[in-house]
């Protein structure tokens, strides 16, 4: 048997620039690597010396798909240093904003990036050639999410209205009520999305490592919470560095995060498996009808989990809008305090951790950001290795395509990861 080398020079339908490399020698997979060649942008370096009030505007620029995740984890960390909690009304508005990002990002991934894999198509446009109604439904759902981002955040990508302590301007009740019509349609669209994706064919595989997600005692965790694992660990954000360590491994130049020494997965499968009991009755019913149990470890089925989460986020947005009281002040003052703070939130693709050390004037002395894709790197490569090993009978083209799908299952955000991973610029 001759050696086989498979490579994908530029992964398609993922955010950012990545490549795959699989080496098979003597019927053994000897290398399975997700290479990230996206150039580094040095956020953690140039954040030093900036004001604590700037972190959300600056770090949102890490990722155009999940800027609210960056803004939120940043506030959570800085407000943690300063010992400020902005109160219920502002917290509700932040959750609403984040729901907008979940809806928009999940709809994008489901319809334009992920579903084509299950249908054997190159992209969502090709799907529209035969099922325009389906793609239109996806785009309508995505737009509903963006409408929330625009109304609450002032802009869909890199929102301008959020600030440390709250918002520059709180939307009026009438402005939010105007979203109800599109969101009622979006709820129908999201539930139809769950039904549609549940009809796909799912290879029978399971991730066997630990799962890690934010957990909140009162609701399905999105914009804050503690850290929880499938093994039963619970710890606050400030203990994150005690459990999660980034280190180098021999076979790769990428930093891999481990949870108490083992590889782990964050993202929709982790969130669902840890928090599904907290979903709304409607979302639970949709999940059950789509064949999901109370946990899900099959990366291919992450598309179903995303659809369920999108439905939940639409329902949650409607609930928050109906309960909305315009805060008397759109933000609370956050006077600077010297110290270190930690913040987490659930980006659409997994838990995003920020840590800042501030001086007494609020100037940033150090910044650490651990994005979900960096945390999932080891799990994705393990998935890749097992997929390749289990499908060596396929020809190169089919095996390569399957390996690409394996990565897309995890909705990696490579622009995010690139800034925080070691990388080579080898283009295969």
């Amino acid at each position: 048997m001759t050696d086989r080398r498979l490579s994908v020079g530029a992964l398609a339908r993922v955010e950012g620039e990545g490549a795959l490399r699989i080496v098979v020698a003597d019927r053994q997979v000897t290398a399975a690597e997700l290479r990230i060649y996206e150039p580094p942008r040095f956020f953690e370096a140039f954040l030093r010396g900036r004001s604590y009030t700037e972190v959300s505007d600056i770090t949102s620029r890490v990722c155009g798909i999940c800027p609210v995740a960056y803004q939120t984890s940043a506030w959570n960390a800085v407000e943690d240093v300063c010992g400020v909690e902005p109160g219920q009304d502002i917290a509700a508005l932040r959750r609403l904003l984040y729901c907008g990002e979940w809806i928009s990002s999940h709809a994008l991934h489901i319809y334009l990036l992920h579903a084509p894999d299950f249908l054997g198509l190159p992209d969502g446009i090709a799907l529209a050639n035969t099922r325009r109604d389906v793609v239109e439904r996806g785009l309508r759902l995505k737009k509903a999410g963006n409408t929330i981002l625009q109304t609450v955040g002032g802009r869909a990508i890199h929102p301008v209205n959020p600030r440390l302590g709250g918002f520059h301007r709180a939307p009026t009740v009438a402005e939010l009520r105007a979203l109800e019509g599109p969101l009622r349609q979006a709820l129908e669209d999201a539930l139809e999305t769950v039904r549609w994706v549940s009809s796909f064919e799912f290879p029978d595989v399971e991730f066997d490592g630990e799962l890690l997600a934010a957990h909140h005692p009162e609701h399905y965790a999105i914009e804050n919470g503690q850290v929880a694992t499938s093994g039963g660990l619970r710890f606050p954000a400030h203990r994150f560095p005690d459990h999660v360590v980034e280190h180098q491994v021999q076979h790769s130049t990428a930093l891999h995060a481990t949870l108490d020494g083992a590889r782990y997965l964050t993202g929709p499968l982790a969130r669902y498996s840890i928090n599904s009991a907290q979903l709304s009755p409607m979302a639970k019913e949709a999940a059950a009808a789509a064949g999901l149990g109370t946990t899900c470890r099959n990366p291919y089925r992450s598309i179903v989990v995303r659809a369920v989460e999108a439905a939940y986020a639409v329902e949650e947005a409607l609930r928050l809008i109906r309960a909305y009281r315009r805060p008397s002040r759109p933000y609370v003052e956050v006077p600077p305090v010297a110290g270190t703070g930690h913040g987490i939130s659930e980006a659409p693709r997994g838990l995003l951790y920020h840590r800042y050390r501030l001086d007494a004037d609020g100037v940033i002395e150090s910044a650490t950001i651990i994005p979900p894709t960096s945390q999932n790197q080891a799990a994705m490569e393990d998935d890749l290795r097992r997929t390749a090993a289990g499908n060596l009978h396929l020809d190169d083209a089919a095996l390569t395509a399957l390996c690409e799908r394996t990565i897309r299952n995890h909705d990696p955000c490579i622009s995010c990861a690139a800034h925080f991973l070691d990388l080579t610029v080898e283009r295969l």
Partner: protein
């Protein structure tokens, strides 16, 4: 352009937000897909057709030696090259490395800095190859993107006003945040295109569209200091999202001469 024009999207150092703006055209995307052949758009399609391309949208800045070569190959393959967003037009937020100690930056972020291939500067696309049109913003504005593509498809010049955010603010009937509340605002020197998003939420413009044509930045800096901004902060707000573009802007004098 003969036959169906082809559209390509290329990414350099960036956050993906500007190319995402194309996918954010939810109402127009399928119509657009019927009018152009989307020949190269890695984020959205696994089908890559070979060049040449009629229209290329280029996102991101040049930060590696390899990308400096790649942009030349992209230029050779396309008829009209449009740079999209602050990274491509001005070097972007990652241009905050420019003038800093890049070796030290490498060591702060990466455990094994030796692996990191990077240039000491982040530079706009126009520093490397000729650019036909540029769309400003961090991120770009969806309406301006659609206007640009529509114009190119029929062979006219896109309508992209190069006046200031102030003109858009006035047109919306917003109260001036600087005059009314002494909130520092870069609107008077910032390129129009966003529709005055920040003043609309009672916030000063932070200049993410870069300088307007003829921006009088020294006068702006003086005004910012007058409303209480510290000199270092003035410098930072003018250099965060668009590299040195504000500092290299050339004011138009009162008589209209540059």
């Amino acid at each position: 352009m003969t036959g169906t024009p082809s559209l390509a999207v290329f990414k350099f150092a960036s956050c993906d937000g500007c190319q995402l703006t194309l996918l954010d055209c939810e109402d127009e995307l399928l119509t657009l897909a019927g009018q152009v052949r989307i020949a190269h758009f890695t984020e959205a399609s696994s089908q890559v057709l070979p060049g040449p391309y009629d229209i290329a949208l280029v996102e991101g800045s040049i930060t590696t030696a390899e990308d400096a070569e790649r942009i030349r190959r992209v230029r050779d393959q396309c008829t009209t090259l449009v740079t999209v967003g602050a990274c491509a037009t001005a070097g972007g937020i990652q241009a905050l490395r420019n003038g800093a100690d890049i070796e030290e930056f490498r060591a702060v972020v990466y455990a094994s800095p030796g692996y990191i291939d990077t240039l000491a500067t982040s530079t706009p696309i126009s520093a490397h190859v000729p650019v036909d049109l540029e769309l400003r913003g961090c991120p770009i504005d969806r309406t301006q993107l659609l206007e640009t593509i529509s114009a190119l498809l029929v062979g006219r010049r896109p309508d992209l006003p190069d006046t200031s955010v102030c003109t858009e603010c006035k047109r919306r009937g917003l109260t001036c945040v600087t005059v009314a509340e002494a909130i520092p605002c870069l609107g008077p020197v910032t390129h129009a295109g966003c529709g005055a998003l920040c003043p609309a939420v009672n916030r000063g413009c932070y200049g993410c569209f870069g300088p307007m044509t003829g921006a009088n930045v020294p006068a702006m800096a003086e005004r910012l200091r007058e409303v209480g901004m510290r000199p270092r902060t003035v410098d930072l707000v003018l250099t965060t999202f668009n590299g040195s573009a504000f500092h290299t802007a050339v004011p138009i004098t009162r008589t209209g001469h540059r």
